[in-house]
């Protein structure tokens, strides 16, 4: 059974005296399987946070359904098994970390001794042991993000929903969060997270969904979503000055590079041909880099696609699950 199941979810906000309508979600459907790390990607205003707010019971869908762990979104039983880190988390800033985690433990119905033990473990695990009993108002953004992770894990969740978990963290902190996400997955916890940082999504996710303007443009593993075909090959080369002119006549895109000259060709056959010419001219190949479609290029092309897909156009989700 899917840990998270969303079907034809729509949300329309009405704002102001004129009751202006904004369609934030336009019928999205997706499923997250147990134990996977699922990345929810999309540009600003795509509807990612709206989806998460519906899942967490903060807002209600205009139509469609959302279920977490078999229970409707917002149901107390489901919330007891879910940990949530909001985007730019705000907590009660007059509390210390132990006080905040104690409150969360109480809300999870944990007895005094286990919630104290869990709190101490988590404070160490997210690297906040040095913070002591300082109030949260004195914390940096990175420290607040760690507090957010600790409180999300306090109830020993089966599903963790992280909204921009790397936000505000330095490289060390980001690596720690990545390690934590892998650790959670290894323990059987499902992780659903939103991010703008595509490198993190590429490194972490088993599957991703790309949301643009309230519609899903693709759901699947990176292998399923990304075109495996070669896009281009970059070659960085050097050669004796008397042979350079001849080599620059080779078909392709030539540019100056820091360590020599850069040639971009369409395929590996053209790259092989150039390397043969370069060797014959007693030149040196410094670097050869084949380029395939990246998550970033897919994301950018989907975000830039303005026209709506036709009703009969099969989204990649269906292609992937077929």
């Amino acid at each position: 059974m899917a840990v998270l199941h969303v079907s034809e979810l729509r949300k329309t906000f009405t704002r102001g005296l004129l009751r202006r309508r904004t369609e934030a979600l336009r019928g999205i459907s997706l499923e997250v399987e147990p134990g996977e790390i699922f990345g929810f990607l999309g540009p600003n205003g795509a509807g990612k946070t709206t989806t998460i707010k519906i899942l967490m019971g903060l807002i209600f869908p205009t139509s469609g359904t959302a279920h977490l762990l078999g229970a409707p979104a917002g149901d107390r039983a489901a919330k007891a098994r879910v940990g949530y880190l909001p985007e730019n988390p705000y907590f009660y800033d007059y509390l210390s970390v132990p006080e905040l985690l104690d409150m969360v433990g109480r809300l999870h119905g944990q007895a005094k001794a286990p919630r104290r033990k869990r709190s101490v473990e988590l404070i160490e695990r997210v690297g906040l042991g040095h913070a002591g009993n300082r109030p949260l108002r004195s914390f940096s953004k990175g420290m607040m993000q760690r507090v957010g992770l600790a409180q999300a894990l306090m109830g020993e969740p089966e599903l963790v929903v992280l909204d921009e978990p790397m936000s505000g963290l330095d490289p060390v902190g980001r690596k720690e969060v990545r390690d934590l996400v892998f650790e959670l997955r290894d323990r059987g916890t499902t992780v659903f997270f939103c991010t703008h940082i595509l490198a993190d999504a590429t490194a972490l996710c088993d599957r991703v969904a790309i949301l643009v303007k309230g519609k899903l443009r693709g759901v699947g593993s990176l292998d399923e979503l990304l075109d495996p075909r070669l896009r281009s090959v970059d070659l960085v080369w050097q050669a004796p000055s008397d042979t350079v002119e001849g080599l620059l006549r080779f078909e392709g895109q030539h540019r100056e590079a820091a360590a020599g000259r850069l040639l971009t060709v369409d395929d590996l056959d053209r790259a092989d041909a150039f390397v043969r010419e370069l060797m014959a001219a007693k030149g040196r190949l410094l670097q050869l880099q084949p380029h395939r479609e990246s998550l970033e290029s897919l994301f950018v092309s989907e975000a830039a696609r303005d026209e709506e897909p036709a009703d009969d156009e099969a989204p990649k989700e269906q292609e992937a699950s077929a």
Binding site: Y90, Y92, Y94
Partner: protein, 273 residues
């Protein structure tokens, strides 16, 4: 995986109430006590100079009025901000996704504020009793009854403030609640006016009569110097008994329950954006 959840709603409501009380204490709401004590001290010194053998009487009257007014202002200020502050500071995004129902959250906030106000009124009453004692008087059980009624009034006022803040902005909520409190404190006058010679039998009279019947009767909780059953009552002479306190408390708590019930219904379906 998940630790087993203990108990019913009570521990979760308590967790929210404890946090609300903690917030009030850490935000120095109880500093009002120090101001009250200093004000009372200064005032008793002035009274000692001005009044002749009536210091205790005046101190009790003004002390009780001070407790009532100060705590009403604080209840209003805290009450209308109870929910809006959670939304403004986005702490609601942290707490609502936790395993609790929205009504439990609302009730926890309410009890947390009531607990804060009980501590506040209780402490002010102790300070007043000390000053009365130092001036050679006795605080007395009549004053205790009057102070219990102040607490019930605050419980009702907080519930009214929460009702308004469950669907409107803090400014509008403060205006509505304050207006209702002022009208409620003058409910008897409004009823008399509505049924008086000028308005009797008119449409306006009927409307005012209906309004005076449905708005909360805040006057019932501050009656020293007023009339009960046609007789003037005062904390110095004949005052109401515990029977009246119980009756007024029942009325106040029932009214507060209705307000909270409506607030819970409205808050349960509200988009927290």
């Amino acid at each position: 995986m998940s630790a087993p959840s203990r108990g019913g709603a009570a521990p979760r409501i308590w967790a929210i109430a404890l946090n609300t009380f903690r917030e009030a204490v850490r935000n120095r709401v109880l500093y009002v006590l120090a101001l009250f004590a200093v004000g009372l001290m200064a005032f008793s010194l002035v009274l000692g100079e001005l009044s002749l053998h009536e210091e205790v009487r005046v101190m009790k009257d003004l002390g009780l009025a001070g407790i009532s007014l100060v705590s009403v202002v604080i209840a209003l200020f805290l009450g209308v901000n109870l929910l809006s502050k959670e939304l403004d500071r986005k702490t609601v995004y942290f707490v609502v996704p936790k395993p609790l129902q929205r009504w439990e959250f609302l009730l926890g906030k309410y009890f947390g504020q009531v607990f804060t106000l009980v501590i506040l009124v209780g402490s002010m009453a102790v300070i007043l009793a000390l000053f009365v004692g130092l001036s050679g008087g006795v605080h007395g059980v009549a004053m205790v009854r009057a102070e219990v009624l102040v607490v019930v009034e605050l419980m009702l006022l907080t519930a009214v403030a929460m009702l308004f803040s469950s669907f409107s902005s803090p400014y509008l909520s403060a205006m509505f609640t304050a207006a209702l409190w002022i009208i409620g404190r003058n409910q008897a006058e409004l009823a008399t006016f509505a049924t008086g010679k000028k308005l009797e039998g008119t449409g306006l009279g009927a409307i005012l009569e209906f309004v005076s019947a449905v708005i909360p009767d805040f006057h019932a909780f501050f009656i020293s110097g007023g009339q009960v059953g046609g007789e003037v009552v005062s904390v110095h002479e004949t005052f109401i008994g515990w029977g009246y306190v119980a009756e007024a408390s029942l009325y106040g708590l029932l009214y507060a329950s209705v307000c909270l019930g409506v607030a819970m219904l409205l808050f349960a379906r509200r988009d927290l954006v």
